[in-house]
């Protein structure tokens, strides 16, 4: 057995190696490329709408440009390179002749069948040795024979004969497959011979040092500095830093918009001659008196002062463009209109960073302001303007006519909840909507996903009451009821309860989707109902002016109304567990949706009243604010409550008993009677026992405010 390695001299192995390696890299990359060229938004449902706002072509072009930007040129190059390498190695594999080592078979050499007897073998051998003995025959030049080849043939024949007759050699043959005993085998490294041949060494070293000395540090460096350059939320670090400086405790939506214009991304979008070209024009347009507002851009006097305090430059232009976008102000200039629609998605991406910053401060007003800013940017509505502008064809004047001279704005829901005749009389008319426009607006309003909260309560999984510092789940039950939906079915009471999974139900505990068993087929195998998709995505936001496809998110968080502070940070929901629309994609299914958020209960017992905010970041006026009360019971009380109906109280020396003691519960009582007395007193005190027993969760449901 030889131990030194040889290299692949015939070139039969390394093509396989290279083919496999490049395939491993190229196939995933090709998949990524294929995924990237397809529109990622295509898999999302959409709100059916044929409304085209003015400048729709510009908006579409911006949207497409953004999609194209994501396709990387180097990826295409790499994939092409990978495929060509694979093709070349495949060709090599196909072309290179395969050297097959035949298995040494004595019967073949002697030319007899394997069932031949020893006598036959002997006679055949004698015949053959007489024929082929090197002393007997002369090498025949025409048959390309030499003395050596004749000798070799004779040796083979005698070996074959011995393998079949001689005991020792036969053993060798059986054990190793060859009469001479163990054959040597060689290990070849699947690298081309050229790589190690004399004189090429320096090139190999050069390539090696380029790969590991230059390329690897370069890739690691770009990755590292790339992560440093961007903040966790996505915007550039520089922008996040500037936004942090812009934070104020009592910032409003207009203030957030002003703050967003500081982003470095805005500067990058308005480079060179774009930096302040046309600034005067934009400003004169947005500061002109609007239809219903003092300024056409919809900005307040305070916002106007802030705008005018800025030095002229990219930041001031970005802010002016943002106001022009929000106020839907016509700019009469192709370049300006284009930048107007480009700057809004940039500002929207910055809101995420601002939200993170305001969450770190923990004050309610800025958090809400940043979510509202996101809503207004997506819908192109100025702060404090009517949410009715979300509907197509609505202008500030029409919204004003619909709202009358009331001071508060009218939400889409309250507009759509009026009877059709009344709505029509308000919105349709001369100078208002036409009949067709009205119908489009109503049909779109009827598809908007408004999440109506039905019930919100706290619970601890598997427990009856909430003890201090336990892990509480906030369960929000509700339905998507688009504004103006008619004949909304009543909610099934049972669906509003959150039943804990049974302890032996592994599927439910692990969060696997359970399928209902419908029946059994003839063979007795259970038939399950068709798989429903696990994740239901809401339709992409209906935002005709926003030059991106955006999937709406819902944020649920608790605030303390007295201190104006956030109590529980937001939980974000982008997908739901029940279908929102029926198969046709427009009729709402009114299925009950569940949102759950977990947090740690306060360390002291008591009643805590929070304001629960459910905020959708894509639609204006779709938010829910309601009061919820978290009742935290003393741990000892909870243990007694559990003791009332329990079957086997953990003994002091069992593991459960130790756990109980560790939790701070009292040691189990010895006498049953005393325990019952206690629990009776308990009932008188709290008086909520029955309710608690009914629903197995501490009942804290309240009614929505709006």
């Amino acid at each position: 057995m030889s131990s030194d390695y040889s290299y692949d001299e015939e070139g039969t192995l390394w093509p396989f190696f290279v083919f496999t390696l490049s395939g491993l890299v190229t196939l995933p990359l090709s998949y990524v490329l294929y995924k990237g060229t397809r529109d990622p938004a295509a898999s999302f449902p959409r709100i059916k709408s044929d409304y085209r706002p003015k400048n729709a072509d510009v908006i579409d072009a911006t949207r497409k440009k953004d999609r194209r930007k994501e396709n990387k040129l180097w990826l295409v190059f790499l994939v092409i390179l990978g495929w060509s390498v694979m093709a070349y190695t495949m060709y090599l594999i196909y072309v290179t002749p395969v050297t097959v080592r035949s298995i040494w078979n004595p019967y073949d050499i002697l030319g007899i069948s394997e069932s031949a007897s020893e006598k036959d073998i002997k006679s055949i051998y004698k015949k053959l040795s007489r024929m082929f003995h090197p002393d007997k025959i002369r090498p025949d030049a025409s048959k390309n024979e030499t003395i050596e080849s004749l000798n070799a043939r004779y040796v083979e024949i005698s070996k074959a004969y011995q393998a079949l007759t001689d005991e020792e050699i036969r053993n060798n043959y059986i054990q190793y497959g060859h009469p001479d005993g163990k054959q040597s085998y060689s290990i070849a490294i699947a690298l081309p011979k050229a790589m190690i041949s004399e004189g090429n060494g320096k090139y190999v070293v050069l390539i090696y040092s380029l790969l590991f000395g230059v390329l690897l540090p370069y890739i690691v460096g770009t990755w590292w500095y790339g992560t440093l350059r961007r903040s966790k939320e996505g915007p550039l670090m520089e922008s996040a830093n500037r936004l942090f400086r812009q934070y104020e405790e009592n910032i409003d939506v207009g203030g957030v918009i002003t703050a967003l214009s500081t982003g470095k991304e805005c500067e990058q979008a308005l480079k060179g001659d774009k930096a302040d070209a046309g600034l005067a024009k934009i400003e004169s347009r947005i500061l002109a008196p609007g239809e219903t507002t003092p300024f056409a851009g919809g900005l307040s006097v305070k916002d106007k002062e802030k705008l005018e305090d800025l030095e002229s430059g990219p930041r001031r232009k970005a802010l002016a463009l943002l106001w022009a976008y929000l106020g839907r102000v016509d700019l009469d200039d192709d370049a300006l209109t284009k930048s107007k629609f480009e700057v809004a998605p940039i500002a929207h991406s910055l809101t995420k960073s601002f939200t993170a910053i305001s969450l770190a401060y923990g004050n309610t007003a800025p958090i809400l302001a940043s979510y509202y800013a996101s809503q207004h940017l997506i819908q192109a509505i100025p702060p404090k303007a009517s949410p009715l502008l979300q509907l197509p064809y609505f202008t500030p004047a029409i919204a004003k006519a619909v709202e009358g001279d009331s001071r508060t704005v009218m939400t889409v829901q309250s507009f759509m909840d009026q009877p059709d005749a009344k709505r029509r009389s308000l919105a349709v008319g001369k100078g208002l909507l036409t009949e067709d426009q009205y119908r489009t607006a109503v049909s779109i309003a009827r598809q908007l996903p408004y999440f109506r909260v039905a019930k919100a309560f706290f619970k601890v999984a598997g427990e009856r009451c909430i003890i201090p510092s336990s892990l509480v789940t906030l369960v929000v039950k509700g339905r998507f009821v688009p504004p103006g939906s008619e004949s909304v079915p009543a909610i099934d009471e049972l669906e509003l309860e959150d039943v804990d999974a049974a302890e032996d139900d592994l599927d439910a505990i692990l969060g696997r989707k359970k399928r209902k068993q419908i029946g059994k087929d003839e063979a007795g195998k259970p038939i399950y109902e068709a798989d429903t998709p696990d994740e239901v995505f809401p339709p992409l936001a209906h935002a005709p002016y926003f030059a991106r496809d955006y999937s709406p998110r819902w944020h649920v968080f608790l605030t303390d109304s007295k201190q104006g502070k956030m109590a529980v940070p937001p939980f974000t929901f982008t997908q739901f567990d029940a279908p929102i629309y029926k198969a046709d994609g427009t009729t709402p299914s009114f299925a009950v949706q569940t949102m759950k958020a977990q947090f740690a209960a306060p360390p002291q017992a008591g009643h805590y009243t929070f304001v629960m905010n459910v905020v959708c970041d894509s639609y204006v006026g779709f938010d829910t604010k309601m009061e919820v009360t978290l009742v935290v019971e003393e741990a000892s009380k909870a243990a007694e409550m559990a003791g009332e109906d329990e079957i086997s109280e953990p003994d002091e020396d069992s593991i459960a008993g130790i756990m109980n003691a560790a939790k701070g519960g009292p040691p189990p009582k010895k006498k049953r009677v005393a325990e019952e007395e206690d629990s009776e007193e308990e009932e008188e005190e709290s008086g909520t026992e029955e309710e608690v027993e009914d629903t197995s969760d501490t009942n804290t449901d309240t009614e929505p405010e709006n």
């Binding site: 770190a360 923990g362 909840d417 909260v453």
Partner: protein
């Protein structure tokens, strides 16, 4: 004794030299850049106007031709110092509130390292500024150093309150106008309703409807009521 083949050692030594040299140049250049970067960091706060006023009052140069610098009344200097203290309080409050947020954001990677550097520098500067103010106050009037920041804090709180009040007061005019208009409108509607009261059919002007909307909604479309309150009760 054995001889050393120095020539064969050239390669390893040169390797070590090149490696060490490269690392050293990298580190010096990197450090220099870092130092330059942190030196060029934007200050957290803008120029301190109140401090500048105070200092220029204190070190007033004599005017040309005049022998002595003009005498500044003590009360003016004290007022200037108090103003300076008020501004300091304002800044120190900002720093205190921002500190927790800034450090948690830095840990999460939501803001950059240089923001934190700027912040800590501003913090240090503010500490020195406070000490300076206390010393100046003690120099002007013994014992004032203990109380100057208390009064400055109250002044600051008062200004904030005033500002809020002014903001609210500024809205009164427009609110008043709106209510006048609204009252006139309601009166007009009422009168017209009274006039039409004899006739059985009551026609409602669409513009007047916004006020009694909720009632109307509940009468006409109980199924599509938006207000959770009523719906909720119905279900229970």
């Amino acid at each position: 004794m054995f001889s050393i083949d120095w020539w064969s050692l050239v390669l390893p030594f040169s390797y070590v030299a090149v490696l060490g040299g490269a690392l050293m140049t990298f580190s010096t250049i990197y450090r220099k850049r870092k130092a330059a970067e942190s030196a060029n960091l934007e200050p957290w706060f803008g120029p301190h106007l109140q401090r500048n006023i105070y200092l220029s009052l204190l070190h007033l140069e004599p005017e040309e031709g005049a022998e002595k610098s003009p005498k500044i009344p003590d009360s003016v200097i004290r007022a200037a110092l108090l103003r300076r203290a008020v501004e300091d309080i304002h800044r120190i409050i900002q720093i205190r509130t921002a500190k927790a947020a800034c450090s948690s954001l830095l840990q999460r990677g939501s803001v950059g390292d240089d923001l934190w550097q700027r912040f800590s520098r501003a913090e240090k500067e503010m500490e020195e500024e406070l000490r300076d103010v206390v010393m100046e106050a003690n120099a002007l009037a013994p014992g004032w150093g203990q109380t100057i920041f208390q009064s400055a804090n109250e002044i600051n709180a008062n200004t904030i309150l005033r500002k809020r009040l002014d903001e609210i007061q500024a809205q009164t005019e427009s609110e008043k106008q709106w209510w006048e208009k609204r009252r006139a409108q309601i009166q007009k509607d009422f009168m017209s309703e009274l006039d039409a009261g004899d006739k059985p059919a009551v026609s409602k002007a669409p513009s007047a409807a916004s006020e009694d909307e909720p009632v109307l909604v509940e009468q006409n479309t109980p199924s599509a009521t938006p207000s959770g309150g009523k719906k909720k009760k119905g279900k229970k």
